[in-house]
């Protein structure tokens, strides 16, 4: 019964209504109705006019942005890809070494631990993001409107805080004899030195941001849930569908595009965001929290091995590219 809802007449009705609205808008303003260029509707809003001519004014206005993006985004990225093939200490002339630095990194004693830590952090980050942020979005969506609005603002507000503030707070909580340890002692629980214990340091890093709600993923899920077709929600309610059933049978399938975006963004963020590790543990104790991003940073900016750092960066880029492609294919939307 629930799956037939995707072909429910009310959905067809919604589509017809949308076409009528488009035609109405077209009669007022073709541009608003999205009328294709060159049609009898009027002037094009795009860069190219009909018959191969382009609008130089728009092109000229785009020029500064393109230049800045080219210089400050694409050039450093391309330079970094090439730089991995050169040994360079940042001061003396670079020396071409081919794949030597890539091999050096892959065969380094810390490569294995770094990969393991990265997998744990990426998996943990994705899991906590999906569970906590989707759950929070679900709850907020179905709260009474006034309460929901207040809760939404309370949950979203921490996004604007500087990340360093969050890190400092968690340092206070997790440091030896920090607040968490003092509470644990008072209630008789174990109190590991979270960040200086090699067995708990990575867990401590994962804990940062608990309950992991105030982030972009929450907003993405919230927007998706609030834009689900009302007809389907009404039909589910009429059918007596429970909240859990509705969540897993309707909301999750319809939000697959959002899940895909959040998974990819969370994964990329987990790979790139080594700042908490840099500030709280510096990859330690020992190599307990060492990750490729931190190794890349320290190789370049601490050890003056810029070429080696760029080689690590290139490998990370390739890995994230593969991850993104796999995630895009694996999390294709299941509904039409």
């Amino acid at each position: 019964m629930l799956y037939l809802m995707t072909n429910h007449p009310s959905r067809s009705t919604a589509l017809v209504g949308r076409e009528r609205e488009q035609k109405r808008l077209a009669s007022v303003s073709p541009r608003m109705a999205g009328v294709p260029r060159g049609s009898s509707g009027g002037r094009s809003a795009g860069l190219w006019q009909g018959r191969g001519r382009w609008r130089p004014a728009l092109g000229a206005l785009l020029l500064p942005s393109l230049l800045l993006i080219g210089v400050f985004t694409y050039y450093p990225a391309v330079r970094s890809l090439i730089g991995g093939f050169y040994a360079w200490n940042g001061f003396s002339p670079p020396t071409y070494v081919g794949l030597a630095q890539f091999n050096q990194y892959i065969h380094s004693p810390t490569f294995g631990p770094e990969v393991v830590h990265l997998v744990i952090l990426v998996a943990g980050s994705i899991a906590t993001t999906l569970v906590s942020q989707f759950t929070a979005a679900e709850v907020v969506t179905h709260l009474p409107s006034r309460v929901g609005r207040i809760v939404k603002y309370v949950l979203v507000l921490p996004i604007v805080f500087p990340p360093l503030v969050l890190i400092e707070v968690w340092d206070y909580l997790l440091e030896p004899n920090g607040l968490i340890d003092r509470i644990a002692v008072n209630v008789g629980l174990p109190h590991p030195s979270w960040l200086s214990n090699p067995h708990t340091a990575l867990i401590g890093i994962l804990l940062i941001g608990f309950p992991w709600i105030s982030n972009l993923g929450f907003l993405i899920f919230l927007g998706g849930l609030q834009n689900l077709p009302k007809e389907i929600m009404d039909a589910a309610r009429v059918d007596g569908t429970g909240a859990l059933q509705r969540t897993f049978r309707i909301d999750v399938p319809l939000l697959f595009p959002q899940f895909r975006v959040v998974v990819i963004l969370s994964g990329i963020y987990a790979v790139q965001n080594f700042v908490p590790i840099l500030l709280l543990t510096n990859g330690g104790p020992g190599t307990a929290t060492l990750v490729p991003g931190l190794d890349m940073y320290q190789s370049a900016f601490q050890n003056d091995q810029y070429g080696y750092g760029m080689a690590i960066g290139t490998l990370l880029f390739a890995t994230m590219l593969v991850f993104t492609v796999v995630a895009m294919r694996a999390l294709r939307p299941r509904t039409h």
Partner: protein, 501 residues
Amino acid sequence: MPHTTKRARLALLTSVATCLPAIAIGTGAVPAAASSPTVIKAVLPPNTGPITASDNAGLYQLTKEYEKAHPSVSVQWLPNNTSSITQANATVESQASGGAAPDLVWEQYGPVTSGSIPAGLLQNIKPYLEKPNPYVPGNKSWLSLFPASVIAYMTSPNGDIDIILGSAVETGMFYNKADFAKAGIKSTPATWAQFMADLAKLKAAGFQPFVFADGGLCNPSWFERLATSSLLANEVPKFDVNHAQVTTGLDDAIGIKKGIISMDNPRYAEVWKLLGQLRQYNYSGAATYDACTSQTATTPPLDSQALLSEGKVAIVWGGSWYIPNLNSIKGFAGKYGVFPEPTITSATTRYALNTVTRGVIGGPNGNGQWGVTSEKADHTMTPAKTAIVMNFLAWLFKPANLGYWINQSQKGGEIPIEKGAPVLNLPGLRSLLPTGKVPTVVDVVLDDVLTTAATTSGLRLVQEYMDGSLSYSNFASQWQSLLTSAAAAWAAANHVNLSKY
């Protein structure tokens, strides 16, 4: 159509005009203001805040006096927020790669004289030091104001002097007197065996005996210096070709190649076995602390002095810079004591040579350590500007001035080096000063002597060893690999063929 073309031209001109100033500034085509004074950019000592902070009041006053006497010169002091010399060197090398390094950079003698810093980054200032200091009447040369032992620290193997040194620190073990009394320890340990026995007594009495704070380099590097200099004292002549006070990168690379600085050499391996004995007495949060970090640090590594003053550990390793800090803590002055690092004797190991290592760890490592950057590292540097920078340094290093601003800044925790400079002589400091000749300091991995990468990796290995993640055998294997690769990397960076040694 013409209307569109005209509008397009206007848009194009506007966008190009927007970009032009940025291009002009970026290429330096914007002409400089006429008749601007010479601006000296100098890096302040670490953990002292900006030039207007109280720690820098003396330096600030002297700078203003100099600027008043030299209206064409302006000094811009840059705060030093780096937490270690490793970080500081990384910063200056990054800046130098763009030709934007400051004129005066904070340095330490180890990386400068060892060959760890890229050649050509700092200038040889010996020609200036061989002339009289213009602010010291009657001196024959500026160098003559420094003790011969300090000149040895300043001099690179090729005879150049790329660093000037202003003050010395001494180091030792700071202990809680009440904890010692309750544990029944009546006198401070003079030997390593006595030290280990006292740690056991403290543990038995229920105290946390010691913290080997390895969140930063200070503790690991002091131990490496102490134990290696002590146990290898009779083998130093076999690999010391530079005969400097501190072994250089070349000396160490030769020592590694010859298998003297090697985990296969039981004498060298003993260094790390001794370190392992400290594990059972170590504070469990040690990796979060560093002995040399700023007292105001809020993210790790935190300051290990607090562990002593808050009664969390009975003994911390530290330096003379601790003395003013601990004395300023309300109610703590007089409740702590300090003793020199214990001597490793045959009561501890059969490889001991009973080498007295007082002064091995400390030395001219206090404030007032600067190098002058080269034209390649600092595009504003010229021979004329170098002369101005050295003149400013000569003013700061007039002995009376040096003593004034060092004492004002460090309150006696650091000892001005130059002859005739006033010294505060804090209580407790005298016990840390070397009483005789300081043996050759064998500094290998943990002080940026070979490569910074080796120092970073070495610190991680020591952390894993101290927290029990690595057994001794695993540590030994990885440390040996590190020694070998670091020596090869040093030789490659300095274009040295080790096969001829």
